[in-house]
C-alpha cells in the first residue's frame, strides 16, 4: 500500500504543480489578450467610471463632451456630422473610431498613470480624462461643410508650414451620436453614399491633372532649364497605339503655359522623356508608397511602379491617370509642399492635450516629413501654378489682392463623369494655407472644385491667427 499511496501522492502533487504552471501561463500570456475581448465587459465598466475628456476646436469651441446622467456618462457630439470623420464615435456595441479610438487612453487620462488606473479600479469618484484641442479652425470647418455637403466629396485645408490640419470634411457624413448610431447601424452602414467612409483620408482617387505639378517638378529636376523649351501640342499624343487627347490643340507651349492650360500632350511627353525609373523615384521622393501616420486612420498612398514599365502606362501616370491614385489629404500635402519650398510637413490634428484642470500635458510640434524637391524647383512649379489661376484653367480660384497658386484636375474614372479636383495654396509666395478639394463626378475641376477652394482660402486667410 505504501507504494501505491506514494505513487498517488506523486501524481496528485504533480497535478497541482502543472495547474500552477498553467495559471502562470494563463495570467501572463492569455490575460492581456482576454482583456481586449469584446465579450469582456470589464474594460467598458471601468471606462465608464471615468468622465471622458472633451474634444475642442482650435478656438476652444466644444465639439464632443461626456455628460453625467446619474451613474453613467453619455457622449455628446455638438456638431454631429460636421466633425464625425474627425472625432469618430464611441459606443459599447460598435467600438471606437477616429480620435475617440486613436486618443482613447488620453481621453480617459489613463496613459502612463498607474495611480489613475488604480483609482478607477478602486472606484474613486470624480475621475476625469484629458481634453483634446484640435488644429481645426471651427469657422473654417463649418464653412467647408457648408460648401461640400451638397456634393459627394472631400476637402482638406492645412497650414503648409506646420502641417496643422485646419479643416477636414468628407461628404456625405453621419451622425456619430452613439445612441442614434447603435439604433440605426444597419441603415447607416448600407446607405448608398457610404457616409461612414472618411473620403478625405482613406478615399483613393486618380489625381488627374493635379498630378502635373508633381510631373513638372520631376521634369525640372531631371532636365534643368527645361522651362525654356517649347513643345508643339497638336491636340493629342499617340503612344504605341494609345491616344491621349487634349481639349484642343494648344500649339506651342512651354512648361508654365502647359501647366496653365493643363496640356496632356506636354506632360505625357515629359513623363516619357523622364523615363520610368526617374519618374518612379520622383514620386517616391514625394512620398508615394511610403507610410505616413495621422491622428485618424489614413490610407498609405499606393505606388504602382510596375505600371510605368509600359510606355502608355508611364504617359498616363504622368498626367495623373491610369493606376495612380491619391487621397485628398495627400494631395493637399503635395500642393503645400510646393508652396513650402519643397518641404513636406507631417500632417496633424491634435494641437494640445490638456488636463481637466487646464494644464497642457502635451503639445503637437511641427515635424518635417520629407524634402520632396529643392526650393528652386518648387519655386518654378509655384510660378507655373500662379499662372494656372491667373490665366489658365483655375481662374475661378482667384482672390482679389492675393496671389493664389493652384492646379485643376478632372480625373477620368470608370463610373461616370470625371471627378473635379482643385489643389492650391495662398498667398503663393508665402503660403499660409493649402487646400485640396474633390467633388466626385463633378466634371471640370476649374468649374466645380476651384470656387470651393477659393472660398476656403479666402476664409482661412481672413482668420486672424494665421
Amino acid at each position: 500500500m505504501q507504494k501505491s499511496i506514494k505513487g498517488f501522492r506523486f501524481f496528485i502533487i504533480g497535478c497541482f504543480v502543472l495547474y500552477a504552471i498553467y495559471l502562470v501561463y494563463f495570467v501572463i500570456w492569455r490575460g492581456p489578450v482576454l482583456n481586449r475581448e469584446s465579450a469582456n465587459p470589464r474594460p467598458w465598466i471601468l471606462e465608464n467610471r471615468i468622465q471622458r475628456g472633451g474634444i475642442f476646436a482650435r478656438g476652444g469651441e466644444k465639439i464632443a463632451e461626456s455628460i453625467a446622467v446619474g451613474e453613467h456618462f453619455f457622449r455628446k457630439y455638438y456638431f454631429g456630422r460636421i466633425y464625425a470623420h474627425i472625432t469618430g464615435y464611441e459606443s459599447r456595441r460598435l467600438g471606437k473610431t477616429g480620435l475617440e479610438s486613436s486618443y482613447d487612453s488620453q481621453l480617459l487620462g489613463l496613459k502612463g498613470s498607474l495611480k489613475k488606473s488604480l483609482e478607477v479600479r478602486w472606484g474613486v469618484k470624480g475621475i476625469r480624462g484629458n481634453d483634446l484641442y484640435l488644429t481645426i479652425d471651427h469657422q473654417l470647418q463649418l464653412k467647408a461643410w457648408d460648401l461640400l455637403s451638397p456634393y459627394t466629396g472631400a476637402a482638406v485645408v492645412l497650414n503648409p508650414k506646420t502641417g496643422e490640419i485646419l479643416a477636414l470634411v468628407s461628404s456625405p457624413s453621419f451622425d456619430p451620436d452613439p445612441l442614434y448610431l447603435e439604433k440605426n447601424w444597419e441603415t447607416v452602414k448600407r446607405e448608398p453614399g457610404h457616409p461612414l467612409v472618411n473620403r478625405a483620408t482613406v478615399g483613393l482617387y486618380p489625381p488627374g491633372s493635379t498630378l502635373k505639378i508633381v510631373t513638372a517638378a520631376i521634369g525640372l529636376k531631371k532636365f534643368p532649364g527645361i522651362e525654356s523649351y517649347v513643345y508643339d501640342c497638336s491636340g493629342e499624343i499617340k503612344i504605341r497605339g494609345r491616344i491621349l487627347k487634349d481639349l484642343r490643340a494648344h500649339g506651342l507651349v512651354n512648361l508654365k503655359r502647359a501647366l496653365a492650360v493643363s496640356c496632356n500632350s506636354y506632360f505625357a511627353n515629359l513623363g516619357l522623356r523622364v523615363g520610368a525609373e526617374d519618374f518612379a523615384s520622383g514620386l517616391a521622393a514625394f512620398g508615394w508608397g511610403k507610410d505616413y501616420s495621422l491622428d485618424v486612420p489614413a490610407e498609405p498612398i499606393p505606388f504602382p511602379k510596375d505600371s510605368f514599365a509600359k510606355l502608355e502606362g508611364l504617359a498616363e501616370a504622368a498626367i495623373g491617370q491610369g493606376k495612380i491614385v491619391v487621397s485628398p489629404l495627400f494631395m493637399a500635402m503635395v500642393a503645400g509642399t510646393i508652396g513650402n519650398g519643397g518641404v513636406m510637413m507631417k500632417p496633424y490634428l491634435v494641437r494640445e492635450i490638456r488636463s481637466h484642470e487646464g494644464s497642457v500635458i502635451w503639445k503637437g510640434q511641427p515635424q518635417v516629413l520629407r524634402v520632396a524637391v529643392s526650393s528652386d524647383i518648387a519655386a518654378k512649379v509655384r510660378d507655373a501654378m500662379i499662372e494656372v489661376v491667373k490665366s489658365g484653367t483655375g481662374v475661378a480660384a482667384a482672390l482679389p489682392g492675393i496671389e493664389v497658386a493652384g492646379k485643376t484636375g478632372s480625373a477620368e474614372n470608370p463610373t461616370g463623369e470625371p471627378h473635379a479636383w482643385f489643389v492650391a495654396f495662398a498667398p503663393a509666395r508665402d503660403p499660409r494655407v493649402a487646400v485640396s478639394v474633390i467633388i466626385e463626378h463633378g466634371g471640370q475641376g476649374g468649374r466645380a472644385a476651384a470656387p470651393i477652394a477659393r472660398e476656403l482660402m479666402r476664409m482661412a486667410l481672413a482668420r486672424g491667427w494665421l
Binding site: M1, F16, Y19, A20, F26, L34, A39, R42, R121
Partner: protein, 554 residues
C-alpha cells in the same frame, strides 16, 4: 487618507505571503527534529478461527494479553484458547512471551512455552488454532515539540485584516464587522488549541483555518449576507472538527460500523431523490423547514469510511484475486460484490439526482482507494474504461451533459448563453494579473455562482496570480500532509482512512479548479473550505477532524 484605506485592499495578500514564509521557516525548523523508534506487532499467519482473519495485525506495546476474554488486548474467540491465555511483555527493551497457565499451552516456534521466553522478530507463536508472527520494524516519528508557534495567529489575523479592509472600504456594516471579528478570534483560539492540545498534526487545522478565512473574506465581500451565514457555518464546522477530535476516541472502531455508514449513505441519497428540492438543475438538497442541506456531502464521508473499512478487511483477496478471468485473477463475487453494489448504487442515485459532479467525485475516490489498497493498475485502467463508457452514456442520455461538453470544447461560441459563466471566469482570472486589483476591486456580479463554485476566479481577479498560486499551494501542502499521515500510519484501516480523506480533498479541489479554468468540463462542486455552503464546509471539517485524529497515532 484615501490611499491608506485603498492600500488596505492589498493587506490580505501580503499577510498570506508572510504566513507562507513563516510556515516554511517553521517546517524547516521541524525537519531535523525526528526520532527513530522500534515498533512491534503480531500478525496472523494462519487461522483456524472464524473471526480472526489471516493478515490481521496488532501493534503491541509494553504488556499485551492474548485470550478469549473480550477484555484482552488481543481477543480470540476460539474455544481452544483460555480466557487469559498468554502475554507478551517488555523487559529492558526485549519482548518476552509467557504462558498464563492456559489449558492448551502456548507454542513458540513449535515448542511449548515454559516460563517467560524472549521472542525475536520472525518468531511464530501458536495459540489455539491461530498462528502469529512476531514482527519488529524501525519507524521514524516527527517529533512535534509542543512549543507554541506564532503560526496559530494567521487564520484570525488574515480574516481580521480582510474585515478591516472591507469595513473601511464600505463593504460591511459595523454589525457584520463585529461578527467577522468574533469568527477571527474563534479561529485564532482554535488554531492555538490545535498547537497545544493533543498530539495531532496542528498544520491541518491551521491550513483549513487559512482557507476558511479567505473564503469568509470573499463571501463578505460578495454579499455580507452570504458572509454572515457562512460565519455561522464556519463556527459549526470548527465545532464539528473539535467534536470529532475529542469524542472519537478510537477512530479504528469506525470500521465496525462501515455497513451502517453505507446503508445510511444510500438512505440519504434515496431520501434526496424522493423528497429533495431542486437547485441549479440538480435535485440534491434536502429541506427541513428553512434549513437546507446537501446529503451527498455527508454521504461522501460515509463512503470513505465504508471503503476504508471494507477494503482494509478484504485487502489480501482483492489484491491477489482468487478466480481466473482470462489472464487476470479477480476476486470472487462475495468479496467484490458488496463493494461494487455499494458504489454502483450511490453512483446511480447521484445520477438520478443529476448531481454529476458529485457522481464523478465518488467514482474517482472509489477508484483511487481501490488502487491504493491493491496497487493493481489493471483495476485503475478498467475503472477508467468504465468511466469512459459511463460518461459516454451520460452524454447520450442527458442534454445538459451534451451542452456542457459543447461549451467545454468551444466556450466562445456560447458566449452569451451556456459559455457565459466560464468565459467571465476566464476574463476575471486573466484580468487580475500578477498582483490582482485588490480586495473589493473586481466584478463578482459578472460571474454567476461566484460565491459557490466560481469563487476561485474572483480570488484571481482581486488577489491576482499571487493569490491563486497561494491557494493552490495551501491545497498541495494540506494534501501532502494528509498523505504523509496515511504513509506513517502502521495500521491498514487508519492508513486507508487518512488516504481517503486527503484524496477526497485533492480530487474535489482539482475537479472544480480544472472546471473554472476550462481545463476539464465544468462540473459544479464547491471548492473545499472556500466556497459558500454549510453542508460542504461542515462535512469537510468532519473529514479533517478524522484525519487529525489519525495523525495523533497511538
Amino acid at each position: 487618507m484615501l490611499w491608506i484605506i485603498l492600500a488596505l485592499r492589498y493587506v490580505v495578500i501580503m499577510l498570506l505571503y508572510i504566513f507562507f514564509i513563516d510556515l516554511l521557516l517553521h517546517l524547516k525548523r521541524r525537519a531535523g527534529n525526528k526520532e527513530i523508534y522500534p515498533k512491534h506487532s503480531l500478525a496472523v499467519l494462519a487461522s483456524g478461527c472464524f473471526s480472526v482473519n489471516v493478515g490481521r495485525k496488532w501493534d503491541i506495546e509494553n504488556e499485551t494479553v492474548i485470550g478469549r476474554d473480550p477484555g484482552c488486548s488481543i481477543s480470540i474467540p476460539d474455544p481452544y484458547v483460555s480466557s487469559r491465555h498468554a502475554r507478551l511483555f517488555k523487559v529492558n527493551g526485549i519482548y518476552m512471551a509467557e504462558d498464563l497457565g492456559s489449558s492448551n499451552g502456548t507454542f513458540l516456534n513449535g515448542k511449548r512455552l515454559v516460563g517467560p521466553t524472549p521472542v525475536k522478530p520472525g518468531d511464530r507463536l501458536r495459540i489455539g488454532h491461530v498462528v502469529f508472527e512476531f514482527n519488529s520494524s524501525l519507524r521514524i516519528r516527527e517529533n512535534r515539540g509542543r512549543g507554541i508557534s506564532s503560526l496559530f495567529l494567521y487564520p484570525g489575523l488574515i480574516l481580521a485584516a480582510g474585515g478591516v479592509a472591507l469595513y473601511f472600504n464600505r463593504f460591511l456594516t459595523p454589525h457584520h464587522f463585529a461578527v467577522l471579528l468574533s469568527v477571527a478570534l474563534f479561529l485564532s483560539i482554535s488554531s492555538l488549541l490545535s498547537f497545544i492540545k493533543g498530539r495531532g498534526d496542528p498544520l491541518i487545522f491551521l491550513l483549513i483555518g487559512i482557507l476558511s478565512s479567505l473564503g469568509l473574506i470573499f463571501l463578505y465581500r460578495i454579499n455580507p449576507a452570504f458572509g454572515l451565514r457562512q460565519s455561522y457555518w464556519v463556527l459549526t464546522g470548527i465545532t464539528a472538527f473539535w467534536i470529532t477530535r475529542i469524542f472519537l476516541r478510537h477512530y479504528e472502531r469506525l470500521t465496525e460500523y462501515k455497513y451502517l455508514f453505507m446503508a445510511l449513505g444510500v438512505l440519504f441519497l434515496l431520501l434526496t431523490i424522493l423528497l429533495g428540492t431542486e437547485a441549479g438543475g440538480a435535485r440534491s438538497w434536502l429541506s427541513l423547514g428553512s434549513f437546507r442541506f446537501q446529503p451527498s456531502e455527508l454521504v461522501k464521508i460515509f463512503m470513505v469510511i465504508f471503503l476504508a473499512g471494507y477494503l482494509d478487511e478484504n485487502r489480501e483477496i482483492l489484491t491477489r484475486g482468487t478466480r481466473k478471468l482470462g489472464p487476470f485473477l479477480v476476486p470472487d463475487w462475495p468479496y467484490l460484490g458488496p463493494l461494487l453494489a455499494a458504489c454502483g448504487l450511490s453512483l446511480l442515485l447521484l445520477v438520478f439526482q443529476r448531481d454529476l459532479g458529485m457522481a464523478f467525485l465518488f467514482f474517482a475516490i472509489f477508484l483511487t482507494m481501490v488502487y491504493a489498497v491493491t496497487g493493481r493498475l489493471s483495476y485503475l485502467l478498467s475503472g477508467v474504461l468504465l468511466f469512459a463508457a459511463g460518461a459516454w452514456l451520460m452524454f447520450l442520455i442527458f442534454p445538459h451533459v451534451q451542452e456542457r461538453i459543447a461549451v467545454y470544447l468551444n466556450p466562445w461560441e456560447f458566449s452569451d448563453s451556456g459559455g457565459y459563466q466560464i468565459i467571465q471566469s476566464l476574463f476575471a482570472l486573466g484580468g487580475g494579473g500578477v498582483l490582482g486589483w485588490g480586495l473589493g476591486s473586481g466584478f463578482p456580479e459578472l460571474i454567476p455562482a461566484v460565491h459557490t463554485d466560481f469563487i476561485f476566479p474572483l480570488l484571481g481577479e482581486e488577489l491576482g496570480l499571487a493569490g491563486t498560486l497561494g491557494i493552490v499551494f495551501i491545497y498541495a501542502v494540506l494534501i501532502w500532509r494528509g498523505l504523509q499521515i496515511a504513509l506513517v500510519n502502521p495500521e491498514g484501516f487508519g492508513r486507508l482512512l487518512a488516504f481517503g480523506c486527503s484524496s477526497l480533498l485533492a480530487l474535489q479541489a482539482l475537479i472544480i479548479l480544472g472546471g473554472v479554468t476550462n481545463l476539464i468540463p465544468l462540473t459544479g462542486i464547491p471548492l473545499p473550505f472556500l466556497s459558500y455552503g454549510g453542508s460542504s464546509f461542515v462535512s469537510n471539517c468532519f473529514l479533517f477532524g478524522i484525519l487529525t485524529k489519525i495523525s495523533e497515532g497511538e
